[in-house]
Symmetry: C2
Subunit: 358 residues, 2 copies
């Protein structure tokens, strides 16, 4: 038994019960392929994302958190389509087979996989620079998938959770920001253990007109929706700011101590930059018709997910901004007026949230 | 447009026609997930394999050959299950976005994908050490999959193609073997552009009792089948040798000039070592009942795939060899007698075919 066989055994043993409990997993880990039996009539949603050390995570991250995050960013893609998780494949490249590290990594994967009834069905392990590739499978009724291309003029724009928190943690690691220990612990947790909004995505089927998950940053990812839908958008900085302004918000863990609140040590510009361009949040940005405001509210309540309205879709006219090509379809509103303040565009959207690129 | 968006555009443009021609690909590259619509009643076979530079391929390989190989090793897993390719996801990690390199790499992928009507449906690109992760999807009727666990006592053991050719090329690169230019060109092509035996796998449905594709080496992979099936095996060195012994074999490109022939400059032991332990061949090893010999022959002819009988499955008794734990279920027969010749076990089976491990 080689050391990489040992890895297979660790994962196989840890995931045996979860795999057995699935009615879609006909054959799990151990053969040339896994066999899935899709629910009759359902479409299959598939997505893959790789996390590379130094690019997507710091070498200081705990293996358990890394296991969580590697699966979370993939489940987040299912969430953005409104698909129900079915299973996943793991492609692990690691410099050596460290049993304690692997156990903890597998545990992080398993905990999140269990929460979403999403078993590991197969994969491979290779010696090399640390990288974690995951492919997820989900199910969705034909025609029900939330696509990037569905946003319509007049639709409201929403975002879940608290965008920018992950970026705040990164800037602390970089030495550019300072948070108190409680704030930092919260921000670090959002960066290292993001919450895939699977339940919200499912609840938004037949309500949202489009959706995307936030990996590149709020505005950068919104721009992908606008481009795919052939529309433009106004984002109201007042509404974005209001996400954090309610001091006694029961679903904001930090309340008035939040680092994006009025009392923050961070400048207003630092806060806005993190929120608009932060990346790595794995929240959902989505659009829905004005007539669906109550339905969106209900979906948010039913899934216990904070959801905030932040702007509106418009028909494509002249580009609203000339600051960057990528974001030209977005107009930032400040007190109802288009902002020409270059500082509002201070941080650019990234190709990828990239810890190696300050 | 960032440089990694450019990559997405290259792949999307190159694969547009192939994706459009598929009845199973409902939504391809460009959203958070791809959407597949499985053929009603079919099971889905899924598998993932990653190629890491320095471990699975030499840095000297051409990008087009690398594209071919990355997809081939994954299609080979579908072949080993008897599944029909439906599509694949690509996770590309590359140090930089080199347009010429990417075009050639994509062309290598596209050529093989076109031959198997297997479109790229999505993926992601990241900056980092060169590695190519691919996940393939295939379809198969319920119960028809060829598994590792189906070998029965009395079954014949077969192998497709010419195992060991890829290893011979590697040993030339390492300076351990010498081949003439024509021989080396052939061996290098087998190492860099393996043929996934998809058609043979499909033809062996309802004929073969078990199957596996050869990545670790003929005996090493056979051992996986034996272990999964709870059986042991006799492999006849005379039959293995005979794979290359027919001077005028029309499906052996080199004929009597083959480097595993009687006239070879390689010693008999070097030849056997490559054949038995070589790895990286992506041929199929499979078992079938004695009564299916004609059916196997027909499947080989119909798919124009060389297939060779090389031994027999037996009920589990005492281990046949004490040389390595992994291969203890295999007895090598030399002129009908179990070989206790340690030289026959000269090269061990590898965890992975590993170019970094001479």
């Amino acid at each position: 038994v080689g050391e990489f066989d040992l890895i297979d055994q660790i994962f196989k043993a840890q995931f045996a019960a979860l795999s057995k409990a699935s009615s879609q997993v006909t054959l799990g880990i151990g053969d040339d392929c896994a066999l899935l039996t899709p629910t009759p009539g359902m479409q299959l949603a598939v997505s893959t994302d790789t996390l590379v050390e130094g690019r997507h995570f710091l070498s200081t991250v705990s293996p358990q958190a890394l296991g969580h995050k590697a699966l979370a960013v993939n489940l987040s893609d299912l969430a953005a389509c409104g698909a129900k998780p079915v299973g996943f494949l793991l492609s692990l490249t690691a410099p050596r087979a460290d049993a304690a590290w692997l156990q903890a990594f597998a545990q992080g994967l398993l905990d999140l996989a269990t929460a979403h009834a999403c078993p590991l069905v197969g994969g491979n392990t290779t010696a090399g620079p640390l990288a974690i590739g995951i492919t997820v499978f989900g199910e969705i009724p034909p025609g029900a998938a939330l696509l990037r291309s569905g946003a319509k003029p007049g639709d409201d724009i929403y975002v879940s959770g608290f965008p920018g928190e992950a970026r705040a943690a990164l800037e602390v690691f970089r030495g550019n920001l300072h948070l108190n220990p409680k704030q930092f612990a919260h921000a670090q947790s959002r960066m290292e253990r993001p919450t895939p909004r699977v339940a919200l995505g499912l609840a938004l089927r037949n309500i949202a007109s489009s959706a995307i998950d936030l990996s590149d940053g709020l505005l950068g990812d919104l721009a992908h929706v606008l481009s795919a839908s052939g529309v433009q958008a106004e984002v109201d900085l007042g509404l974005v700011d209001a996400i954090y302004s309610i001091a006694t918000n029961s679903i904001n863990a930090l309340g008035s101590d939040h680092f994006f609140s009025k009392n923050s040590a961070l400048s207003k510009q630092q806060q806005l930059n993190c929120m608009l361009f932060g990346g790595d949040d794995y929240e959902l940005a989505f659009t829905a018709p004005r007539t669906a405001r109550e339905a969106v509210q209900s979906a948010a309540l039913a899934t216990q997910t904070p959801v905030h309205r932040m702007g509106q879709i418009h028909a494509l006219q002249t580009p609203g901004s000339v600051f960057t090509q990528n974001l030209a379809r977005i107009t930032l509103l400040r007190q109802g007026q288009p902002s020409q303040n270059a500082q509002d565009w201070g941080l650019r959207s990234f190709d990828h949230f990239d810890i190696s690129n300050p």
